[in-house]
Amino acid sequence: MSPLPSPGSRGFSRRTLLAASAAGLALAAAACTSSPPDERERVTGEQADQLLGQVGVQETLVAAYTAAGAADPALAGEVAELAAQATEQLERLRQAAPGATPSSSSPGTPASPAEARSWLREQVSTAATSHAAAALNQSGARAALLGSISAGLRGQDGLLA
């Protein structure tokens, strides 16, 4: 009998992702034990710029959680865990793009408290779509990070429905 695949047995570490810098360096750290450092970890200027852009996308989403919560305090309590996850995602993106500086981009505000949930859901969906598109243009650990964040936000989107 074969054990069911374990998420923890993939040989893919947090350290791996932290090592993925958008600083334009061809990193010495291999993404996985199965392959040597290669093209996947090489970052073009365009890719680095795009990753910085995704930091901004995530900053906007984090601000959207704050704005939605301010508009509807009951919603704020309900989505506190989701907001914390969005912040965690932002931190990981910043680690992957060390040149990123906090932006002042605002998502706006919900038109009314009653619309806060649907407005927030739209913000989450927009960010997920953006990260997914960016993941296709990246490679290696950066693609994995963006894809993971996008999938996580799709999960949030479904929960907010």
Partner: protein, 154 residues
Amino acid sequence: MADDGAGEGAQDLTAENAALEQALAAEHAAVWGYGVVGAALAPGARGTATTAEAAHRDVRDTVATLLSQRSVEPPGAKGGYALPFPVLSPTDAAALAVVLEDGAVAAWVRVLDQAAERSTRELALEALTGAEVRAVGWRAAAGQTPVTRALPGL
């Protein structure tokens, strides 16, 4: 030769194919496991498991075809799998479904990491997202919290 829209120049597909083989193994396990999940659910609640199983079958077949086209022998399903815990109730079934989907999520994130082809990243993103969205529903059904993950598969 890889047609990579993200990198500079060509890469071989050895690492990508290896990751796809692992993803295929996870999909085989999911297809098998959903049989167990469905059997432990009430008849009226089996639709979600059936839909999930069908999704994994589709992905499994896509990956097997892709590997075959690359002259890589796609790994087949195991004769049997060891359950991580007894599945005796609908809650157990939901918890098993979480294990299956989390396994698929991790495998597809690895594919994203290893992919040289843009088309493979597209496949991985779709499979990864579908698995995580299903996992959210199963975590809720299993009473697990939080039901969402910030960084699924990492």
